[in-house]
Every structure is written in C-alpha cells, then in structure tokens.
C-alpha cells in the first residue's frame, strides 16, 4: 500500500555541510498493517513522516501510495496542531469545510463521537488536555477516510491513563476502518502491544527491520521480575541477578524466561510481573541490517 524505495534527504546547514537526514530508506506498509518506527531523537523519523505526508520533498527516491480516497494518508506530526482559539467542532468545521465534506452539526458531532470526545463543549481547544487534543487531531486526520494513518509520537505528553485510552482508540479505529497505521513512539512497551512490524532508524539509516517481538527479543537480555516472596527462591540463583526487596533485575535470554518462570512457580513464588528491559543502546544503535 505504501512503498518507499531509496529515499534520501539532506538538509543544508550551510553550503558546504549538508546533513543527511535520511539515507537510502526502503520500507513497505501493507493495507491494514500496524507498523512502527523507533529511533533516538534526531534519527529522522519526523522527516520520513513529513515526506510520506507530502510536506517535505525527498532529494531522491520513490514513494508509491496505493489508495482510492482523495486523501491518501492522514496524520499528525509531533503534536496535534489545532486552531487553539476555536472549539473542537469549529476546528472540524474548518478542516471538513476546506475539503468539501459535510459541515452540518450532526456530521461534525459524528466525528467527535468517533474519537470519544464530548459533543457539547463549546470552549476553545486551548483548554483541552493533551489527550483530548490528540483525539481531535486523529478525528481531523481521519476526515475523508484515508486508508493509512501516520502518528508521530502520539503518546507524548499523555498521562498513563491517557496512553491506555489513546492506545485503545487507535486499536478500535484501525479495526473499524481497516486502516494501516505507521507510528513512532518512545514507549517501546506500547509498540510491542500495537505493532506487527518494527523499523529502527539511526542517524537517517534503517538499521533494523522485522517482526516487533523478534527485534525486541534480540535486544532484550534483562527482565524486571517482581514477586511477593522472591528472596526465598533458590532457582533465581541460576541466573545473574540483582535483588532489591521483592524485585529482581535478571540477566537472561528471552528463550530462557519461560524456564525461569516455571522454576519460580514450582517454588510457590507468587510472580506479579515480568517486564522485559530492552537494551536501548543495542536497539537504537546496533549494527546495520
């Protein structure tokens, strides 16, 4: 559905020193697929998104987008940019009106309901929380039924409840509209839950790509395990670990985690959580694929 072949983009700081923002980017997103891209700040994620959304022209390369809708891709870059002095419904009226969509009260309220926003608020969106602005931004991005949604750091600035709520909304909308979603986030746990495939961008180059779980596993050698009576465990000593109260940081390969958990269960250790701790340096700056 979206295919990027050999895209390059340089930014000129001065005439002699161009900065390579993107170098030979190749990627593919299929219809209905949930794909994410991660990388440290300045890796080129937003530039890539802006190129896909047509805001920035690449220096070279080819982008093919197969879509039937007039609006091929909807998206939010960095944070939802809205007319802060207007209400939610007026923002929708502006963006729907400029593309010839119905701007009746009922039609606009439907867009608000779709993203779980209240329909009776008439105050400017400047008063809205970041979560509500994200929802309104998504409602605007979904106007005219694009077949792909690009979300750049959608969870930034949200409280934990907001993250959970927005994640559910994205899941619901993608299922409802058969959307392909391409998103970036620093919340790796969320990407693991949401995305089938993962790309890792470092200094403008894709250094990893593939199944999200497989990449995360390849970069995870530590787990944070919490259990009520963990200090009584003897099997824990088979692995290098650091115990702090009921929590242990264990160095272990992903394939051995099930063995560890089984051993702890046999010892009647009451495990409450086991959270992978990806090695960010390895994930973000690992060797080129």
């Amino acid at each position: 559905m979206i295919e990027v072949i050999g895209v390059n983009k340089n930014y000129l700081v001065d005439k002699t020193h161009p900065i390579k923002a993107l170098e030979n980017i190749n990627l593919k997103i299929e219809k209905g697929e949930f794909v994410s891209i991660v990388g440290p700040s300045g890796a080129g994620k937003s530039t890539l998104f802006k190129i896909l959304l047509g805001l920035v022209t690449p220096d070279s390369g080819e982008i093919t987008i197969e879509a039937t809708s007039v609006k091929r891709i909807g998206g939010i870059i960095e944070k939802p940019a809205l007319y802060e002095y207007l209400s939610a419904i007026e923002n929708l009226r502006i963006f729907a009106g400029m593309q010839g969509l119905p701007t009746t009260r009922i039609a606009l309220e439907e867009h608000l309901i779709r993203v779980g926003l209240p329909i009776h608020r008439k105050d400017p969106v400047a008063n809205f929380s970041m979560g509500m602005k994200q929802r309104l931004g998504i409602a605007i991005a979904l106007l005219n039924n694009p077949s792909c949604l690009i979300l750049d750091e959608p969870f930034t600035g949200l409280d934990p409840m907001g993250v959970v709520s927005l994640r559910s909304l994205i899941k619901k909308l993608t299922a409802e509209f058969q959307l392909a979603v391409f998103l970036s986030s620093h919340l790796l746990e969320d990407l693991n839950q949401l995305c089938n495939r993962l790309y890792v961008l470092h200094k403008g180059r894709l250094i990893r790509q593939g199944n999200t779980q497989a990449i995360m596993n390849a970069c995870t050698h530590q787990y944070l395990l919490t259990a009520n009576n963990l200090s009584q465990s003897t099997s824990l000593h088979h692995w290098q670990h650091q115990l702090k109260g009921d929590t242990a940081e264990i160095s272990i390969q992903p394939g051995q985690v099930s063995d560890l958990l089984a051993a702890l269960t046999n010892e009647k250790i009451e495990i409450t959580s086991c959270i992978p701790q990806p090695d960010l340096l390895l994930l973000f700056e690992g060797e080129s694929v």
Binding site: L55, T57, E78, L82, E84, Y85, F95, Q99, I140, N144
Partner: protein, 276 residues
C-alpha cells in the same frame, strides 16, 4: 477555492487580534477628532489669520472635510502598519501553531490555500479602509459639520465643501490600492520569514523605507514615477488643484501590476518550499 475563502474569512473574524486592529483604528480616529475638537480651532486661526483678511471662507475651517482629510493621513503609517500586522499574522500564526501542517495534510492544493489568504487579505484591507472612510465620514460631519477644505501641499489649496467631499472619496479609493500593496507585501514577507516577530519588524521597516524613499529624488523621471515605493502617495494627487487623472490611472495600473507580482512571488515561494 470558494471553500478555502470561506474558511479563511471564518478564521480571520474569529480571532481577537482582528477586533483589536479594528478597535485600534477607531481609537486613532477618535484621538484625531478629540484633539481637533480641543486644539484645532486655535491652530487653524493661528495659521490662517492673515488669509482671513484677504479671503472669505464658507463655514468654519475646522469642519468635517478637514477632519476627514486628517483621518485620511493615517494612510501614511498607522493604517498600513495595523493592516500589515493582521495580514502577516494570518500566515505567521499558522507557522507558529503548526496548523499549516494540519491544513496541508488535507487534500488541499498548496497554491490555492495561500492564494485564498492573499484574496482574503485584500478583502480585509478593503473592508478596513471602507470602515475608516464610513466612520470618519459620519463622525467628522456629525460633529464638525461641512465646510471648505484647506490643504497644504507645496502651498495652500482651498476646495469648496462639495468638491472637497468628492476629492476625499476618490482619495480613500486610491488609498485602498496603496493599503492593498502593503497588505500583499506583508503576506509575502510572512511567506519568506515565517516567524511572527521577524515579519512584524521587517514589515514596519518596509513601510518606513517606502515612506522615506517616496520623498527621495531617484534621478530619472521614469524611476520617480513608477518605482515600487513612488506610487503610494497617489491618493494625495486628488488634492492638487488640477487632478492629474492620467497619471493617477497609470499609477493605479502600475500599482496593481506590482501587487500581482508580489503576490505571485509569495505564492511561488510557498508552493515550492517544504513545510518542515
């Protein structure tokens, strides 16, 4: 295009700064009228004391026509400055809030969107000059009545009341073209500079430089007549004893040409430039 024009008008008139601008123009107008009411008679008597011995003036000289002429003189600086601030803000605010990205993520043509801003900016300018004309017409005549107009342009000129009113009307019309020139220029500066404060400063500088260069002799008749900044006093030609209609018409044509060129440059740059 019609849809874009409607949304641009909606945004412009939903922003408080638009009403601050209108209020500023009315306040300046009010200050001119109040100062004229309290100080004007003394100043005029002082200036024209000798002439009164030789000529007969119909009505008082501190009349609605003179006051409207004084209001008309805000076209030199006050009005274009306020218009430039509002008009450039139509784009710089979109850059600052990044709504330009949200707009261009919709199926909207870049050149059409920026063109709609130019058209709305021109419409807004016409409305502002129209508002200034109408309010000054009613207020000046309402409070100060009608009378002959005395104007100092390379010497004193006197115009009978009815003729003065017509000349003032034509002047406002000519002034509208100058104001549109400044409005379009400020929007093009906004396209180039993007930043709110930088655009305000450069717009104010542009206005001042235009006013300064207007008075400077450029050496050749052709340049003195048709250089970019030499056309902004066309509205004053209506207060020459013999109105030079041919020159005025030519100036209008050249002004419109400049306006189109400046807008086209802005549209071209905006269309070509990435929205980063």
């Amino acid at each position: 295009m019609k849809r874009l024009l409607i949304t641009e008008c909606f945004k412009l008139f939903r922003q408080s700064k638009t009403y601050y601008a209108i209020a500023s123009i009315l306040i300046i107008e009010g200050i001119i009228l109040i100062s004229a009411y309290f100080e004007g008679t003394n100043i005029i008597n002082l200036l024209l004391d000798n002439l009164r011995k030789t000529f007969y003036f119909n009505g008082t000289l501190l009349n609605g026509n003179l006051l409207q002429y004084l209001v008309l003189n805000t076209l030199w600086f006050h009005l274009p400055l306020i218009i430039m601030i509002v008009v450039s803000g139509m784009l710089t605010a979109e850059y600052k809030d990044k709504t330009v990205q949200t707009v261009l993520l919709q199926p909207v043509r870049k050149w059409q969107w920026i063109l709609s801003k130019y058209i709305v900016a021109i419409g807004f300018t016409v409305v502002m000059v129209g508002l200034l004309f109408l309010t000054s017409y009613w207020l000046c005549r309402g409070f100060f009545g009608e009378g002959d107009l005395v104007v100092y342009l390379d010497g004193l000129s006197f115009f009978p009341a009815a003729e003065a009113a017509t000349r003032i009307q034509w002047s406002f019309l000519a002034g509208t073209i100058s104001m549109v020139f400044f409005a379009v220029s400020s929007l093009t500066l906004a396209v180039i500079l993007k930043d709110v404060t930088k655009t305000w400063i450069v717009s104010a500088l542009f206005l001042i430089v235009c006013n300064v260069l207007l008075k400077i002799d450029l050496g050749t008749d052709w340049l003195n007549q048709y250089a970019l900044f030499k056309l902004n006093d066309t509205w004053q030609y209506f207060f020459q004893y013999e109105i030079p209609f041919r020159i005025i018409l030519l100036n209008w044509i050249v002004s419109v040409f400049y306006i189109i060129i400046i807008a086209a440059v802005g549209i071209f740059i905006f269309h070509k430039r990435d929205i980063g």
